[in-house]
């Protein structure tokens, strides 16, 4: 019926009617429709990544080859900014501090979050309250967290030193001593982030079938054996995710906290690479140089991520074959 109508239209040259269009519109195959749907669902994310990540990244790399005044003038200097970076002791100091920060923060955060995840998985009365309380620091602004801890760690009147003095110890200058300040920043970051990763671990733990634990119990396995042989191996995808995300967060995050707590001090003791780059860009107007350092930091991050992928096999259960 419809093909007869089409032939008639071709013969007479008449415009298709609304009725005939709706009934004869060529239909996409199921496969194509799914492709289209997937594309539409992905489009906002892809567009966002392109506009807010990929394009700025490319522009930043391009900017790193220019001397930028910060007031609209650009001068091509080739690898000049990278040469300056190689000779800048403050940048390498900040990289060392970042390395130490990541090496300490990531494992501590991993262990604390995993321990909390195991803890709040228990069916205890009021467990929801504990979960919420542990997650709360994560939803608070880092600036607020910084101000709060600045008061708690105050040299003269802070609660931490008051408690130490009450216990018969001398107080410390937690944020004023180069040997302690970075440790304090790490501790505060763990306090902030542990709730988030605890929830991730909790989700991973809840994915493990109960039957495995029941079987282990019947076999007489103790808590440690159960953890070692069931929980830990089956948490591999979650562990990979936590490891990767916390590493990336450690390398690129914490700027707000550093600003409020220490402003990079004392004596550059908490001047992480990301802080130094920010300072060069927005404090000193050295956008080209900051872009060079930023590009280098991204390269380091990619390498670190690749190493994590390599050693964890991307969190897969198989051997990647």
């Amino acid at each position: 019926m419809s093909s007869v109508a089409a032939q008639e239209r071709r013969r007479t040259g008449a415009a298709p009617t609304r009725t005939s269009t709706s009934s004869e519109r060529p239909r996409l195959s199921r496969r194509h429709r799914e492709w289209l749907a997937a594309g539409l669902f992905l489009a906002p994310d892809v567009l966002g990544l392109l506009v807010f990540v990929a394009v700025p990244m490319v522009l930043s790399i391009a900017l790193s080859f220019f001397q930028v005044s910060g007031f609209g003038s650009y001068e091509w200097i080739g690898l000049g900014n990278y040469e300056r970076m190689l000779d800048d002791p403050l940048f390498w100091d900040s990289m060392k501090i970042t390395g130490l920060y990541v090496v300490v923060l990531v494992p501590v955060l991993f262990c604390v979050s995993l321990a909390l995840g195991l803890l709040v998985k228990q069916r205890l009365p009021g467990i929801g309250v504990y979960r919420t309380a542990l997650f709360l620091p994560y939803v608070v602004s880092l600036v607020v967290v910084g101000v709060l801890w600045k008061f708690l760690l105050d040299e003269q009147t802070g609660a931490v030193n008051r408690a130490m003095r009450a216990a018969g110890f001398d107080g410390e200058s937690w944020l004023g001593s180069p040997s302690l300040a970075l440790g304090c920043v790490i501790a505060v970051m763990v306090w902030v982030m542990m709730g988030y990763y605890m929830i991730i671990f909790l989700a991973g733990l809840q994915e493990i079938p109960k039957e495995f634990y029941e079987a282990a119990k019947i076999d007489g396995a103790g808590p440690w054996t159960t953890f070692r042989t069931i929980t830990w191996p089956l948490l591999r995808p979650t562990s990979f995710f936590v490891l990767l995300m916390s590493t990336v967060a450690a390398i690129t995050g914490g700027l707000d906290l550093i600003f409020v707590l220490t402003n990079g001090g004392p004596a550059n003791g908490t001047s992480l690479a990301i802080f130094y780059i920010y300072q060069q860009a927005f404090g000193f107007g050295e956008y080209g140089y900051a872009s060079a350092m930023g590009s280098f930091l991204v390269l380091i991050m990619v390498l670190v991520s690749a190493v994590i992928f390599k050693f964890t096999r991307g969190g897969r259960f198989d051997d990647g074959e």
């Binding site: 007031f71 609209g72 101000v147 008061f151 009147t157 107080g171 004023g176 180069p178 220490t262």
Partner: protein, 458 residues
């Protein structure tokens, strides 16, 4: 969930909106609503009609601090009066102080050629902005009498005799002390220290477990350098001499670095600021005996602790040295690359630099009404004094004793600032050798000045 199987499964009579169509419509509608908002968000400061923008960190805002409200009102009134009498209109844009000082909004705006038409500038940033070509020359709008009225207050805002910023205030540094702590320790006015050694001795006497004897700025930044310079200047030292040659590696520099290092090493000065840097809270809470601070705190004391007993005294001097303090203060600037640099420059001069009474009175209102500052113009200083703005004991001391020995905050660019900052931080808080840090900073400054291109650093 997507429907699987063929479409024959759909009821023939389903003429309403399908889930997919609904989602498509929602996405389209969302995009339509979001697009203008996003585009507006991406808009520039200069893309909004012909109104000039004045970015500042005072107002308009509401604050629990009455002093801040008064300062905000001064800005609102000033711009309101201009708008009522001029064709070119100005919008006040308030940025919180931390954002203005350390945020990326202002530098990003200038980097993209979208800087505000009028803005506030500190001496430490002057050269960077001047060398960037964004400071409009205010000289054509200024009377010679007005330039003379400002006197030396304009020195650090001039290049080749031309004025590029107009100071709204002069803020000298002094030592604030808690009278009750002083008295409880059996000290009197006669014990006010005049030398560095006396200052350390008194600080040592006044300190306790919960009270700092003497507070120097501890956070790295332009402000810390600003507060440290007078200690170096008092011994005859300088970063650059009058010809612009590097003079940092000197006995006076080492002496000043040692002073702060010794104060911290002996526990007289804390490694971090008491009460997280809240001056009034620190004093009121009994956590501070002496604190090197600026005149602006007088208005804060008046607002928050009017009955609190405190005093001020001149910064003590080293043996053989002479008294100097640092004079800070912000300026009005016009953007040479803004929408209407002429009108912006005219506004700056109209507001602060005209010989007309209302311009002078406006500065008086700012310096002795909204804030507590020394006025940068002689005429405003006289009128402020006549109005009773310097009648209190503390303000009188600032005007007559502390300010006259002052020297304007230097306008060193970031590399020089950073080298000095690292030397201060390294010696004061990391206990590094004074000699080594002085030499390292001097080398760094020398290397920079050799390749520096721009207006005179001094």
């Amino acid at each position: 969930m997507l429907q699987h199987g063929n479409d024959a499964g759909h009821p023939a009579s389903h003429s309403g909106t399908s889930r997919r169509r609904f989602l498509t419509a929602m996405a389209g509608g969302g995009a339509a609503v979001a697009a203008p908002a996003l585009l507006t968000g991406c808009g520039s400061a200069q893309a909004k009609g012909g109104t000039l923008q004045f970015w500042n960190f005072y107002g308009p805002q509401r604050s629990p601090d009455p002093a801040i409200n008064a300062q905000s009102q001064w800005f609102v009134d000033t711009v309101g009066k201009w708008n009522a009498t001029h064709r070119t209109q100005i919008d006040l844009v308030h940025l919180p102080q931390p954002t203005y000082l350390n945020g990326f909004k202002l530098p990003s705006a200038f980097a993209t050629g979208e800087g505000p038409d009028i803005f506030l500038l500190s001496p430490g940033d002057f050269l960077r902005y001047y060398n960037g070509g964004v400071l409009a020359d205010l000289t054509p709008h200024l009377d010679k009498a007005a330039v003379d009225d400002f006197g030396s207050s304009l020195d650090s805002r001039k290049v080749d005799g031309k004025v590029y910023a107009l100071p709204m205030e002069v803020e000298p540094l002094a030592m604030f002390y808690a009278q009750d702590v002083w008295e409880k320790a059996g000290l009197s006015e006669a014990d006010i220290p005049t030398t560095w050694d006396q200052m350390l001795d008194v600080g040592d006497k006044l300190r306790s477990r919960t009270r700092a004897g003497l507070v120097f700025e501890t956070n790295p930044g332009y402000y810390q350098n600003f507060t440290w310079y007078p200690w170096m200047w008092q011994g005859g030292g300088d970063v650059l001499d009058e010809r612009g040659a590097v003079a940092f590696d000197s006995k006076a520099t080492r002496q000043a670095l040692s002073l702060w290092q010794d104060a911290v090493r002996h526990g007289i000065a804390p490694r971090t600021l008491p009460a997280a840097g809240d001056v009034i809270g620190g004093f009121k809470g009994g956590n501070v005996a002496m604190w090197q601070q600026g005149i602006w705190n007088v208005s804060s004391f008046k607002a928050f602790a009017p009955d609190y007993g405190y005093g001020v005294f001149k910064l003590p001097v080293p043996p053989g040295g002479s008294y100097v303090t640092a004079l800070g203060g912000w300026s009005f600037c016009a953007n040479a690359q803004g929408r209407d640099p002429e009108a912006a420059a005219e506004f700056c001069v109209w507001a602060l630099g005209s010989m007309k009474d209302d311009s002078i009175d406006r500065m008086v209102d700012w310096c002795v009404g909204a804030k507590s500052d020394v006025a940068p113009r002689d005429s405003a200083l006289e009128r402020g004094a006549a109005k009773g703005g310097y009648d209190s004991e503390v303000m009188r001391k600032f005007k007559d004793e502390i300010f006259p020995g002052g020297r304007a905050e230097p306008r060193y660019p970031p590399v020089v600032y950073k080298a000095i900052s690292d030397a201060i931080q390294g010696t004061m808080l990391a206990g590094r050798g004074v000699d080594g840090e002085t030499e390292r900073a001097a080398r760094s400054i020398t290397a920079y000045t050799k390749s520096y291109k721009g207006a005179s650093l001094v």
